[in-house]
């Protein structure tokens, strides 16, 4: 019984972190590119807004998410009125919380990687006939691969470890929304030390391996940016 609830938490955590990371990669790279590129009105404000979850206590981030997506929330209220469904206390809420909390890591790392691509390579691509979008896919993204991969791994690790905002938004419902960090909290509160030990060890090993893999294999295969 104990093992099966642990397996459930493990699977749920992987599921939540994977879904969150999928959105993080796409949206994070797009936002990173926008922030890395031209100046536009509100750029500073956007930068501050998406970096905030990195420094705010996760409970504060979670609180904002409730205000936005709760059953009576600004967005959540409309969804509930329309469909009778609310994201609160579902695993989607855990994914949303992980997404918001881990997104800044992706934006920061991908932005730095995108900015480090030599401007002349981009100009060369333009003068050879390629549009901005074509240049992004064929020159800028391949040359930022290392940073984007590092950002992906960091975001995934952060997402799988997300606790505070997740607790606020999806609760800690056994067999429904208790991801690993929440299950560890419950186990420790209930004095189930052997269960807690096992999960803590597992999570540490898993996150450590992720970071190692990112460092070991994240390197670019050929040459430097400036040949």
């Amino acid at each position: 019984m104990e093992e099966s609830t642990m397996l459930f938490s493990l699977r749920l955590s992987l599921q939540v972190a994977s879904v969150a990371t999928l959105f993080i990669v796409v949206i994070g790279v797009v936002l990173g590119y926008l922030l890395a590129g031209r100046n536009f009105r509100g750029r500073e404000l956007l930068d501050v807004l998406i970096t905030l979850p990195l420094v705010l206590p996760p409970t504060v981030t979670g609180y904002y998410l409730i205000v936005l997506f709760g059953r009576n929330g600004i967005i959540g209220g409309r969804i509930y009125a329309w469909t009778g469904w609310s994201i609160m206390f579902t695993w989607y809420a855990a994914a949303l919380a992980s997404f918001i909390v881990a997104l800044p890591l992706m934006i920061k790392t991908s932005r730095a990687a995108l900015e480090s691509v030599d401007r002349n390579l981009i100009n060369a691509s333009y003068t050879l006939g390629y549009s901005e979008l074509q240049t992004v896919f064929r020159i800028i993204l391949p040359l930022s691969k290392k940073g984007i991969l590092a950002g992906t791994v960091l975001s995934f690790a952060r997402a799988i470890g997300e606790f505070g905002a997740t607790l606020m938004l999806s609760g800690n419902i056994p067999g429904k929304t208790d991801t690993m960090p929440l299950a560890i909290y419950s186990a420790a509160s209930n004095g189930e030390w052997s269960k807690a030990h096992l999960m803590v060890g597992l999570l540490t090993l898993f996150s450590g391996t992720l970071l190692y893999v990112a460092n070991r294999y994240g390197g670019r295969k050929h040459g430097t940016i400036i040949s």
């Binding site: 003068t127 050879l128 006939g129 040359l143 040459g223 430097t224």
Partner: protein, 255 residues
């Protein structure tokens, strides 16, 4: 009507570029000290930057005209631009770099054209190597092949030979002269190397602080500089041996 004619004005942070000149299908060297506006002119021609006022006409097309609000983006200009640092794509092989330049060509046609350029520039042996694995001279040839593969309407070279040692430089200069006969297009070479200017140019345009100080044949410029500025540029001790030296280059080129 000249093949290329341009008139450009731009003021940035106390520097003012204010130039107008024309050229045929010939090799023009833009000559002058750093910061005179030579590379800036190339960027305007390529469409990577936009002048405040003026126009650029290449053949029958207007690439830029401030009075009519015309600005053709770099993608639509068909201008081959070899950057000072060459800007080879480090994640692509030599063949992939050249093939990237064959924009708009597909399938066999693309492959044939790439092969043709690789033959012409003696690059077949290096096709599968990455830019970081080949020598400086080979990189130069890849950069040239990449811009020539699309048959550009004009060629811009921003000090492309600066990083090379003298014998390799002579070899590249010879190659460029060969290519000029194959591609009859305007070629603009930016340099502040006296020998290069003297030996390569059909005509030299001397830039000084954003203006044109003098233009003419290499002989005119070097023998009758019109201002102290131009004199300072060409009046170099080494120029005393200029005839002997240029003779030896011409011999090498003709050899």
């Amino acid at each position: 009507m000249a093949q290329l004619s341009l008139k450009l004005f731009k003021g940035v942070n106390g520097f003012t570029l204010d130039i107008a000149w024309e050229m045929e299908n010939e090799l023009v060297v833009l000559f002058g000290f750093s910061g005179a506006g030579k590379s800036m002119t190339l960027n305007f021609l390529a469409g990577l930057a936009r002048a405040e006022r003026g126009f650029i006409r290449l053949g029958n097309s207007i690439l830029f005209d401030s009075s009519r609000d015309i600005f053709v983006p770099p993608q639509k200009r068909a201008i081959g631009y070899v950057f000072q640092d060459l800007a080879l794509f480090p994640h692509m092989t030599v063949r992939q770099n050249i093939s990237y330049g064959a924009f708009g060509l597909h399938g066999d046609e693309r492959k044939e054209r790439v092969d043709e350029m690789m033959d012409m520039l003696h690059l077949q042996r290096f096709g599968e190597k990455y830019p970081s694995e080949i020598s400086g001279g080979q990189k130069q040839r890849v950069a040239l092949a990449r811009v020539l593969v699309r048959k550009p309407e004009m060629l811009l070279l921003d000090e492309p030979f600066t990083a090379l040692d003298i014998s390799l430089r002579l070899e590249m200069q010879k190659l460029l002269i060969e290519l000029r006969t194959k591609f009859s297009i305007p070629v603009i070479l930016v340099t502040h190397d006296l020998y290069e200017a003297y030996t390569m140019a059909d005509r030299i345009i001397v830039y000084s602080e954003g203006n044109i100080a003098q233009e003419g044949t290499p002989y005119d410029i070097f023998h009758t500089p019109v201002s102290p500025d131009v004199k300072a540029l060409v009046d170099n001790k080494i120029i005393l041996n200029e005839r002997i030296f240029s003779q030896s280059i011409r011999q090498k080129i003709n050899a």
